[in-house]
C-alpha cells in the first residue's frame, strides 16, 4: 500500500501533460531566418522595379535603386504606356498590350478547346494509333522549337497566314497542345469509366458526352489550363518575333525593343514602368489563382 502510493507520487513528479514547445528554439530561428533571407532575394527585383518606376529621372540618377522615391510620380508609367518609342514609332507600350490581348484570347480559347477534346478522345474513344500520336506529341514538347520553326513558316506561308494574327494563334495552339493534352488526359482518366459507359447506354454520342458529362465535371482543370495558357502565351517572345510582323508584335517583343534600343537617352524609370506593365498580367493571374497555378505547372511533371 505504502509502496504503491510512493511510486505513484514519484510518477506524478515527472513530466506530465503537453510537452513544452519553444517558439524561439535555435532550430526555428535558423529555419525562418533562412526562409526570410531567401524571400528577400526573391522580392528584391519586384521592389526595385516598383520603386524605380515611381521616381523621376533626376532621382534615379542621384539616388539609390533600393530606396523608395522621395517624390512619387506616375509620369514614367504614363510615358511607358503612351509615348515610349520602338525605333521611330512612339505610340507607347499600349500597342503591344493590345496586340498581346488579341493574340492571347483566341490562342487560349482554341488551344484549350482542341487539347480538351484530344484528352477526352484519348481516354474514352481510343482508336488504333491514338497512343502513338500522343507519344509523339509528348516527345515533341521536349524537342527544341527551333527545329520546327522553319517548316511551320513554310506551312503558314502556303496557307497564306504567315505573319498574321491567325498564323500566330495556330502556332500557340500547336505548341500548347502537348502539355494541355497531357493535363486533360490525366484529369479525364480519373473520371470513372462507368460514367462514360452509362452515358453511352443512355444514347449520348461523342459530343453529347463531352458537353453534357465531361465538361461540367471538369471545370477546375479548365481553370488550370486557362492560367497555364494565359501566362504562357502572354510571356512568349520567340514565336512573336518569328511569326508576326512589327505592327503585330506582342508586348514582350515590344518591351525588349523599347528597353534595349540603342538610340536616345536611357530612361530607366520608364523602362521599369514598361517592364512592370508587361509583367502585370501574369502577376495578376498568378496572385489571383493561387494554388491552381501550382497545380498547373506541376501537371508538366506528372507522368502520363
Amino acid at each position: 500500500m505504502a509502496d504503491a502510493s510512493m511510486t505513484r507520487s514519484a510518477a506524478m513528479a515527472g513530466p506530465r501533460g503537453a510537452k513544452p514547445r519553444k517558439t524561439l528554439s535555435p532550430r526555428n530561428i535558423m529555419l525562418y531566418g533562412t526562409l526570410i533571407v531567401v524571400c528577400l532575394y526573391y522580392l528584391l527585383p519586384l521592389w526595385v522595379m516598383v520603386m524605380t518606376s515611381l521616381k523621376g529621372m533626376p532621382e534615379v540618377r542621384l539616388g539609390n535603386i533600393f530606396s523608395p522615391p522621395v517624390e512619387f510620380t506616375f509620369q514614367p508609367w504614363v510615358k511607358a504606356w503612351k509615348e515610349a518609342c520602338t525605333g521611330l514609332n512612339c505610340d507607347g507600350l499600349s500597342r503591344g498590350f493590345w496586340n498581346s490581348v488579341i493574340i492571347t484570347v483566341p490562342s487560349v480559347v482554341l488551344s484549350i478547346a482542341i487539347a480538351s477534346v484530344n484528352g477526352y478522345a484519348l481516354i474514352n474513344w481510343r482508336f488504333k494509333g491514338s497512343d502513338i500520336f500522343f507519344t509523339i506529341l509528348i516527345f515533341g514538347s521536349f524537342i527544341p522549337y527551333q527545329i520546327m520553326l522553319y517548316p511551320i513558316v513554310i506551312l503558314l506561308r502556303e496557307a497564306g497566314i504567315y505573319g498574321t494574327l491567325w498564323g500566330l494563334v495556330i502556332v500557340h495552339t500547336i505548341f500548347g497542345m502537348p502539355i494541355l493534352t497531357l493535363l486533360f488526359r490525366n484529369y479525364f482518366s480519373a473520371i470513372p469509366e462507368e460514367l462514360f459507359k452509362a452515358a453511352r447506354v443512355d444514347g449520348a454520342g461523342f459530343w453529347g458526352i463531352y458537353f453534357r458529362i465531361m465538361l461540367p465535371m471538369s471545370l477546375p482543370i479548365f481553370v488550370v489550363a486557362l492560367i497555364l495558357q494565359v501566362t504562357g502565351i502572354w510571356n512568349d517572345f520567340l514565336f512573336g518575333v518569328v511569326f508576326t510582323k512589327p505592327d503585330l508584335y506582342p508586348m514582350t517583343v515590344q518591351l525588349n525593343n523599347i528597353v534595349n534600343s540603342v538610340q536616345g537617352v536611357k530612361e530607366y524609370n520608364v523602362n521599369m514602368a514598361a517592364t512592370l506593365l508587361t509583367g502585370l498580367v501574369p502577376l495578376v493571374v498568378y496572385f489571383v489563382s493561387g494554388k491552381l497555378f501550382v497545380r498547373g505547372i506541376a501537371a508538366g511533371a506528372v507522368k502520363g
Binding site: I114, N118, A121, F139, M148, W234, N235, P282
Partner: protein, 298 residues
C-alpha cells in the same frame, strides 16, 4: 457481309476520329514531319530559300569551324550544368525547409514562385537594371564609400554567364521547389514515423531514405529543367543580346535564329538546330527508356 462489316468498322466513332484530326496533324505533320524536314534540309546548301541541293556534311563542318557556334556550345554547357546543379540543389533544400510544418507556408511559396509567372524578357530586364554598374548594386555599394567595389558581371566576358545565372535561378528555382515539395508530400507519412521510432536523425532520414525514394521526381525535374535550358534564348536576348564583346554570352538558340531569319543562311540554321535536337535526344532517350521502357514489363 464482309463489306458491310468493313464499312461499319470504319464509320464507327467517326466523330472521335474527326475530332482527333488536329492532334494527328500536329503530331505527324508538324512535330514529326517538321523535324525530319529540317534534319534533311540541314544537308543542303539552302541560303535565302530552302533548296534540295545536297552537300553532305558541309554545313556541319562549317558549323563546328565557326567560333561563334563553339562558344555558344561552351556557354550553354557551362550555364546548363551550373543551372541544373543550383536549381535542383537549392530547390530541394528550399522544399525541405518548407516541409518542416512551418507557419505561413502559402506566403513563402507565393513569394518564391512568383518569378516563374514572369517572362524571361521581364526577368532579364529587371536584373539588367539591378546589375547596372552605374546605378545598380555596384553603384550603391560605391556610394556607401567602398569605392573599389566591383560587381559588374554583364559587361565582363569572363563573368557574364554568372550574371545570366543570377537571373535564371531567380526565375526558375521556385518552380523546382514546388516540384520537390510535391514529391516530399507524396511520401508516406509512415516512413517518417518509422524513422522517428528507429531514432534516425531528420537530416539522415532525408539523405538515406527520402532522396532515394524521390528518384523519379529528381529525374523528371532534371529532364524538364534541362530541356528548358537547351531552349535558352529570351533571357539572353533581354539581358545581353549575346554580348559583351560580340559573343561572350551567345547560345545555340540565338545562333539558329540569326542564321535562319537574319543572315539568310538557312542551311547553317538547320544544321545548328539539328545539333540542338541531338543534344536533347541524348538527355531524352535514356530518360524515356527508364520512365516508359520499364513500365511495359511491369
Amino acid at each position: 457481309m464482309a463489306e458491310a462489316r468493313g464499312r461499319a468498322r470504319w464509320t464507327r466513332n467517326i466523330s472521335a476520329k474527326i475530332a482527333a484530326i488536329p492532334m494527328i496533324a500536329t503530331a505527324l505533320v508538324v512535330f514529326l514531319g517538321g523535324t525530319i524536314w529540317t534534319v534533311v534540309y540541314s544537308f543542303t546548301n539552302s541560303k535565302l530559300l530552302p533548296k534540295a541541293n545536297f552537300v553532305g556534311f558541309d554545313q556541319y563542318e562549317r558549323l563546328w569551324a565557326t567560333s561563334r557556334w563553339t562558344i555558344s556550345i561552351q556557354n550553354l554547357m557551362f550555364y546548363g550544368v551550373m543551372s541544373l546543379v543550383f536549381t535542383v540543389v537549392m530547390g530541394f533544400i528550399l522544399a525541405v525547409l518548407m516541409d518542416q510544418k512551418i507557419r505561413h507556408e502559402d506566403t513563402f511559396r507565393t513569394i518564391m514562385l512568383y518569378p516563374f509567372a514572369l517572362s524571361f524578357i521581364v526577368t532579364g530586364l529587371v536584373w539588367q537594371w539591378i546589375l547596372n554598374p552605374q546605378f545598380g548594386i555596384q553603384g550603391v555599394v560605391r556610394d556607401w564609400g567602398w569605392e573599389s567595389f566591383t560587381f559588374d558581371p554583364l559587361n565582363n566576358p569572363q563573368t557574364v554567364l554568372y550574371g545570366l545565372l543570377i537571373a535564371g535561378l531567380w526565375q526558375g528555382t521556385g518552380f523546382v521547389m514546388c516540384l520537390m515539395l510535391a514529391g516530399l508530400r507524396g511520401i508516406d507519412e509512415d516512413i517518417w514515423k518509422a524513422a522517428r521510432v528507429d531514432g534516425i536523425p531528420t537530416w539522415k532520414t532525408y539523405v538515406v531514405v527520402i532522396i532515394p525514394m524521390m528518384r523519379a521526381v529528381f529525374i523528371t525535374t532534371l529532364v524538364i529543367v534541362a530541356s528548358g535550358i537547351i531552349r535558352l534564348y529570351d533571357l539572353v536576348v533581354a539581358m545581353t543580346s549575346g554580348g559583351p564583346g560580340g559573343n561572350a554570352s551567345q547560345v545555340p538558340a540565338m545562333y539558329v535564329y540569326d542564321y535562319m531569319f537574319q543572315a539568310q543562311n538557312l542551311g547553317q540554321g538547320f544544321a545548328a538546330s539539328t545539333m540542338m535536337l541531338l543534344s536533347v535526344l541524348i538527355v531524352l532517350i535514356p530518360w524515356a527508356y527508364l520512365e516508359f521502357g520499364g513500365k511495359k514489363h511491369g
